[in-house]
């Protein structure tokens, strides 16, 4: 069936197929790596006409795909209409059980999309990958993207439509909404309000435009707990209008981060991490990162110089640097001489790298600091090279807490009869003092559209279950503006509605369906008709990207005077300590608190799981007489919470950092009562930090579930790092010589050179930022169970891939080095010869294989593993798995039972799939990626065939920085490391 070849399905044949000129093959992805090949370095560039699809595509075959995505629509009696399903007349030959299909889609967080590719097996998505064609993530994906799959299959998702406890059918709902809408027509929707999540979706924007034409006086308010309000405000100060600031780190040599954690959690952090990591190898190209921050962040841990200061002090530091750069009139010396010197040195370093430096301010810093950053970049001539400005991408330029206040006022005044909430859980996350819960109860028709029942749904008279993005049609924009089409990969698992359908309902077009809305909108926008559009449309779906939609750069004029004026605003003064709030690396602002993978994901710095301790520095803890794990009462402006404290090395003194998103009072067992609710202390004006915190030591000790208790390397050669200078002078080289090369042994080594494949891995500590993407990717790919806080505390965490983190130097201000550790696949594996039943043995290609169904569980292998990468199923971790969650399991990987040992397999299932496809194609495996490698935004993990001398991994294992972990044991590991190189500024030594 020639037509099948043009399905907008990404068929992973496991071997690259260069794009031939034949149009028939353009639109289908032969495989991910093909795109790798095309996209690397040239993100977002498209061969002319690449987006087109040849005309011979038949409508029927297209509907077949829709059929695939809407297969269960028949059941969805209470759902928005699905497209008509056309059953297969003849099964397409591609559709074999176990055959993987790949669909391009996108996932937005606070409005900014990541381009994804979902791998579906037997009609169900089983793995999330980054879309290699997508400019903002270039094939990488974050822990949050990966974990979205667990949310999809969460049996505790909201289901159905409810009004005052009564279930409504979709039609019934439409009828009710129609009534409401018509009632609001009278006064132009004066008493109609929408509280939406920050969003950049062109479709939703269009729907809102039409809504506001029908209800001119309706309120549209966008809000989310952790948004870039300050950045927008800062831009407004500096340029008089909102603009988005984009960093281009490839040309950047010196980076100054003012409390900006741009390597994690930021809308573009995947791309930034990749560009940053690319220049962490020794040489002229190597960049240097200064970070000024309080609590240690992923970015801070990656810094060459981490300038420890309270959040409120960052502004002062920024002013000083700006002054030295001449970006701010009137230099002012900082009282702390060391910091003053740092400011001079940093300024000098920046100045030496005009046009090749970057100053970026953190979203948690006040607008003035952002304005200063803009001024400095302008003064350094970075604009256009390392800094690019565009128009804001978000629909609402400033989603802000002020919106909430306004809404609250309106509700108070009884000006809101109908409120549609699509924003996430405002009752829980709203600023303290603003008792939104009580207010929502006052609204006659509060319609809450959410993926889960939570604190807010209990207060709203209407509950509308939201479809998961992987179940919905839609579109989204990345931070650079590029549009991705969001296509469903599976029909909604539960009765649910997607946002577009909800808005459409108020336009009385609810029964049209999101797909039709979307397609009509884009057809209108493309100005094409019939076949021509159809072809273009399918090209977009295939690549998950609408070309040419990135925002063009614009050059706003800097208003230096305004910046100077803003910069003069005094730093907040006050008695007592300082409280700093931060989004969690696991649960973000709390919306992922129901996601067990993310709850059990160790914090990149402190390795704490299932918790948000109140972090403070050792000195401060001592001064307050607080011991690690001791519960303390944090009081700010009369509000207080009980939180266990934990000492974080390198934390600023007189400051306490608390992560948002924990201590939920509602939601699933996964989120309820885990950690403490930091929102209790969060007020609108001091959204991120506030002075005047009282800390009273309390009774009781709390045991944190930590995956790595020991901080020091004990002087052992484990995670090695060197300064660029000493490295340049060849120091470290001989130190590494002792950590690699052959080890004398009585056992003649097995010769693998005759094999076709000799699998190996290389991990670059210089690139790794410890962002955890690989950890979740591994968990998802390999069906790794979650064990819960209690078991983690007992030391039974199951992660096959962990990121060890060591601190070196003074505890007050240490250096950090992270080291991903998975099974090293030793050629002389100590685990193997001690197994009495031959349950772990070597494959001819040198994999250290674990034979689950042979394992009797003596655990001897684990005792004898020097890397302690083996994980034992001490209990039946899963128990009865709900039917829907069984769909989550990767069918290619055994689900291990109780009493069985398990560990990293180098994703042997991927190797075997590649092998099969290669055999079918009659050639050798030319490309296979491990799950961790595929997710890694820093390209720190490289896996491949060591017998192929041309392969990247083979080259990296010859690298001067290569060394083996615990080399002197003679285990001859297949996984090798590249030593981390730091690039400190000699003037700051």
């Amino acid at each position: 069936m020639p037509s099948m070849k043009t399905l907008p399905i990404l068929q992973d044949h496991g071997q690259p197929q260069r794009l031939s000129g034949k149009p028939g093959q353009r639109s289908l992805w032969q495989s991910i790596q093909e795109l790798e090949g095309r996209s690397s370095g040239r993100a977002g560039e498209f061969a002319a006409g690449a987006a087109e699809v040849p005309p011979e595509l038949s409508r029927r075959s297209f509907l077949q795909i829709l059929g695939a995505s809407a297969a269960l629509a028949g059941l969805g009696a209470c759902q928005p209409p699905r497209e008509k399903i056309v059953p297969y007349v003849k099964d397409p030959k591609e559709d074999r059980p176990g055959k993987r299909f790949h669909y391009a889609t996108a996932l937005a967080l606070d409005g900014y999309a990541t381009g994804l590719v979902l791998a579906a097996s037997d009609g169900r998505p089983v793995k999330v990958e980054g879309n290699p064609l997508h400019p903002t993530n270039q094939g990488a994906s974050s822990a949050w993207d990966q974990a979205a799959l667990l949310d999809l299959y969460d049996p505790q998702r909201a289901k159905g439509i409810w009004r005052r406890g009564q279930p409504l059918s979709w039609r019934g709902f439409l009828a009710e909404v129609q009534k409401l809408a018509r009632a609001h027509d009278a006064d132009g929707g004066a008493k109609l309000a929408f509280l939406v999540a920050p969003d950049a979706s062109p479709l939703l924007a269009e729907l809102r435009r039409r809504l506001s034409t029908r209800f001119p006086r309706a309120r549209f308010l966008a809000w989310a707990p952790a948004t870039a309000d300050h950045a927008a405000e800062g831009a407004r100060i500096a340029f008089g209008r909102p603009v988005d600031m984009h960093l281009r780190l490839d040309p950047a040599r010196v980076l100054l981060s003012l409390d900006a954690d741009f390597l994690a959690g930021h809308g573009e952090s995947l791309r930034l991490t990749r560009e940053f990591a690319r220049h962490r190898e020794p040489g002229a190209e190597m960049n240097r990162l200064y970070v000024a921050e309080a609590a240690m962040t992923v970015t801070g841990a990656a810094a060459d110089h981490r300038l420890r200061m309270r959040p409120s002090e960052v502004a002062g530091f920024a002013r000083a640097v700006a002054a030295h750069l001449g970006a701010l009139p009137g230099a002012e010396a900082l009282e702390d001489p060391a910091r003053d010197r740092a400011a001079r040195v940093v300024a000098a370093d920046l100045a030496r790298n005009r046009g090749r430096s970057v100053v970026t301010a953190g979203e948690r810093q006040p607008a003035a600091v952002h304005a200063l950053a803009h001024a400095m970049n302008a003064a350094l001539g970075n604009v256009g090279t390392t800094v690019v400005y565009t128009k804001p991408v978000l629909g609402d330029a400033t989603p802000t807490a002020a919106a909430l206040a306004e809404l609250a006022k309106a509700i108070q005044a009884g000006q809101v009869d109908t409120l549609v909430v699509t924003a996430w859980n405002p009752v829980y996350a709203a600023p303290a003092g603003l008792d939104l819960g009580a207010l929502l109860a006052k609204v006659p028709n509060a319609i809450y559209h959410s993926l889960r029942d939570d604190e807010t749904s209990r207060r709203c008279s209407w509950r509308v279950a939201a479809s998961h993005p992987f179940e919905s049609w839609g579109d989204a924009r990345a931070r650079d503006g590029s549009v991705s089409l969001v296509q469903p990969v599976i029909a909604p698992l539960y009765e649910s509605v997607n946002a577009a359908d909800l808005f459409a309902a108020f336009l009385e077009q609810g029964d049209k369906g999101a797909f039709q809305h979307l397609r009509d909108y884009w057809q209108a926008r493309s100005g094409l008709q019939g076949q021509a559009f159809q072809a273009r449309w399918e090209g977009w779906l295939t690549r998950g990207l609408v070309p040419g939609t990135a925002e063009p750069a614009d050059g706003p004029a800097l208003n230096a005077a305004a910046v100077a004026a803003a910069a003069r605003s005094p730093a907040p003064k006050g008695e007592g300590l300082e409280l700093a709030l931060a989004p969690s690396y696991g649960v973000f602002d709390g919306r992922f608190a129901t996601n067990a993978w993310l709850q059990e994901l160790p914090d990149p710095i402190t390795k704490v799981t299932w918790d948000n301790p109140a972090y403070l520095s050792e000195a401060t803890a001592r001064r307050l007489g607080l011991a690690d794990g001791q519960v303390a009462t944090l009081t700010l402006q009369g509000r207080s919470v009980q939180a266990p404290v934990a000492v974080m090395p390198g934390h600023a003194d007189d400051c306490v950092t608390l992560a948002l998103g924990y201590g939920r009072s509602d939601g699933s067992a996964t989120s309820k009562g885990v950690g403490v609710d930091a929102y209790e202390l969060r007020t609108a004006p001091d959204a991120w930090f506030a002075v005047g915190l009282g800390v009273a030591p309390g009774k009781g000790k709390h045991k944190f579930a930590v995956t790595q208790g020991h901080l020091s390397m004990e002087g052992r050669p484990l995670a090695l790092d060197f300064d660029a200078q000493e490295w340049a002078h060849g120091h470290g080289g001989h130190e590494l010589e002792a950590q690699r090369g052959p080890v004398p042994s009585a056992q003649p080594p097995v010769d693998y050179s005759k094999e076709d494949y000799k699998w190996g891995m290389s991990v670059d500590l210089s690139r790794c930022t410890g962002c955890n993407a690989c950890v979740v990717a591994c968990q998802e790919e390999n069906n790794i169970p979650v064990v819960g806080a209690e078991q983690v505390a007992k030391g039974r965490n199951m992660a096959w891939l962990r990121i060890d983190r060591y601190f070196a130097g003074p505890a007050a201000d240490p250096q950090t080095v992270g080291q991903p550790v998975m099974c090293q696949h030793c050629e002389t594996a100590p685990c193997e010869y001690v197994c009495p039943v031959n349950a772990t043995v070597h494959s001819p290609e040198g994999l250290n294989e674990m034979v689950y169904n042979r394992c009797v569980g003596t655990r001897y292998c684990s005792n004898n593993c020097p890397y302690k990468v083996r994980r034992f199923n001490f209990l039946d971790w899963r128990g009865e798995v709900p039917a829907v969650q069984t769909m989550l399991f990767n069918p290619d990987v055994t689900v291990r039972s109780r009493g069985v040992m398990e560990k990293c397999t180098y994703c042997v299932q991927r190797i075997e799939r590649a092998r099969i496809d290669a055999r079918v194609a009659g050639k050798k495996i030319e490309f296979v990626q491990s799950a961790c490698q595929q997710a890694c935004p820093a390209e720190a993990i490289v896996f491949g065939n060591l017998n192929d001398k041309a392969s990247k991994v083979a080259r990296l294992q010859e690298d001067a920085r290569r060394y083996d972990l615990l080399h002197d044991l003679g285990t001859r590991p297949r996984t090798t490391y590249l030593a981390r190189i730091r690039n400190p500024n000699p003037d700051l030594a």
Partner: protein, 467 residues
């Protein structure tokens, strides 16, 4: 009638104490030794009841473990082996005295063994039974472990890995148990016959008749019997040494600091003998009092055992010493860290020092005759030594595991109630078996005592034992 008590006998202080006090006739010996069986005393029921109750804990612990999994124990990453293996090694060690006393002392013609060997052999068998439990349950899925460890043809066509010390264990422990049992039973046959013929009730005659297999003391049988017993002894002697050497391989063969140590085999064997003799004393001192065996199990027996403990304790101490020397001399940073930092200052340091105190210092008191002859001190010391030996296994297993190569994976081990109930349960089960033994089986080798008695009466230079 019982023979006169030791105190009643006047003897020359220079001459060594005779092994049997007074000059009982064979009949007297016979009656004295069979009395506990033919008319038991009250206390037995009470003790047996306690032991049975404790055994309930064992059943509970094992049930929970098999139902829920090893997660009910304290084991974790990195401490993959906890109480399970500690107790295994501990019990196996205790199980060494019996065969050693019987076999080695027999070969060396140490006559004093005759009064205690039966006792010690029984203890061996019961101890090995306890030990045997642990390798089975510590996988949490014994229904696999039980047979997958044995080389039997299967559809997968896969075989055990004979490079693994655990497989050696399987063979060593099962062999040791079998041989000890045979050795014990063969030694028991003549006494069972004596029991059969001394018994008055028909039931007892029948019962013991069955186990005596028809022994009637025929010279033609004694003829084969003696040589068979001697050869079994000759086989058991190296067997005893091999078993704990192989158990020590479980550790020595691995590459973990604190395990990877060449001194282990001799030092394990010595430790085993030390704990074995300690356990014999712990059991013998009350028993001889309760059963009035004072004139058969004399102070000289106890004193000799004390001497053996002193010697083995010195060997063990040497082991400790050499371990530390090698840690320093070998120059491995990881090993040095374990021996000079983790053990001495780590969270489990108290257990390490307890081990030193009980295994090295306590036996040193046996340089003094007063210590060797004071029943109270012997009893206390024997218990302390066994606590010390348990601590030694804890130090070797848990302390070595909880802090190995990568500090990132360091962790702590805390036992759970299941760990404790299984441990206490095995002790109870052991006691129960032992009480049953005392109640229903001659706890002293009667025929041997008679032979010895005979020799002493006729002053012939007998060879001791049956040889």
């Amino acid at each position: 009638m019982t023979p006169p008590a030791a105190s009643a006998v006047h003897r020359d202080p220079l001459a060594e104490t005779p092994l049997i006090l007074g000059h009982p006739s064979d009949l007297q010996v016979n009656d004295a030794l069979l009395k506990p069986i033919l008319d038991p005393n009250r206390g037995w029921k009470v003790l047996a009841g306690l032991a049975a109750a404790g055994t309930g804990l064992l059943v509970l612990g094992i049930t929970v473990t098999l139902a829920r999994g090893i997660g009910m124990w304290g084991n974790n990453q990195p401490v993959g082996w906890g109480y399970g293996i500690i107790n295994f090694v501990w019990w196996i060690g205790i199980g060494h005295a019996g065969t050693l006393i019987s076999a080695i002392l027999l070969l060396f013609q140490q006559k004093w063994r005759t009064s205690i060997n039966r006792f010690a052999e029984a203890m061996t068998i019961f101890a090995v039974m306890q030990a045997g439990l642990f390798p089975l349950i510590h996988t949490g899925r014994p229904w696999l472990a039980i047979y997958w460890l044995f080389p039997y043809p299967n559809t997968m066509g896969i075989w055990p890995n004979f490079k693994s010390p655990l497989i050696w264990d399987v063979f060593a422990v099962s062999t040791y148990f079998t041989i000890s049992l045979l050795f014990w039973f063969i030694g028991l046959i003549p006494d069972l016959a004596a029991l059969r013929d001394s018994a008055t009730s028909r039931v007892q005659r029948m019962a013991y008749g069955v186990f005596a297999l028809g022994w009637r003391g025929s010279a033609r049988h004694w003829h084969h019997y003696k040589i068979a017993y001697l050869i079994l002894a000759a086989l058991s002697t190296p067997l005893v040494l091999s078993v704990h050497s192989i158990v020590s391989f479980d550790f020595a063969v691995s590459q973990l600091p604190g395990w990877h140590t060449t001194i282990f085999p001799p030092y394990f064997v010595a430790g085993a003998v030390l704990s074995g003799f300690a356990m014999v004393l712990t059991l013998m001192i009350p028993t001889r009092k309760a059963f009035r065996f004072e004139n058969l199990v004399t102070e000289r027996h106890l004193e000799n055992m004390a001497k053996v403990m002193l010697v083995t304790s010195m060997i063990v101490s040497y082991g400790y010493l050499l371990e530390n020397f090698m840690a320093w001399y070998g120059g491995s940073a990881y090993e040095a860290h374990l021996f000079f930092k983790t053990r001495l200052t780590g969270p489990y340091a108290p257990i390490y020092f307890m081990m030193i105190a009980f295994n090295v210092l306590v036996p040193q008191t046996f340089w003094w005759k007063r210590a060797r002859t004071s029943l109270t001190w012997l009893f206390i010391a024997s218990i302390l030594v066994n606590v010390g030996m348990w601590a030694e296994r804890f130090v070797i297993i848990v302390v070595s595991l909880h802090r190995d190569f990568l500090p990132s994976s360091w962790g702590m081990f805390f036992p759970t109630w299941v760990d404790w109930s299984i441990y206490i349960g095995t002790i109870s089960f052991f006691s129960l078996l032992f009480l049953l033994f005392l109640r229903f089986v001659p706890s002293v080798a009667i025929s041997e005592v008679k032979e010895l008695n005979h020799e002493m009466r006729h002053g012939q230079a007998g060879t001791g034992g049956h040889a």
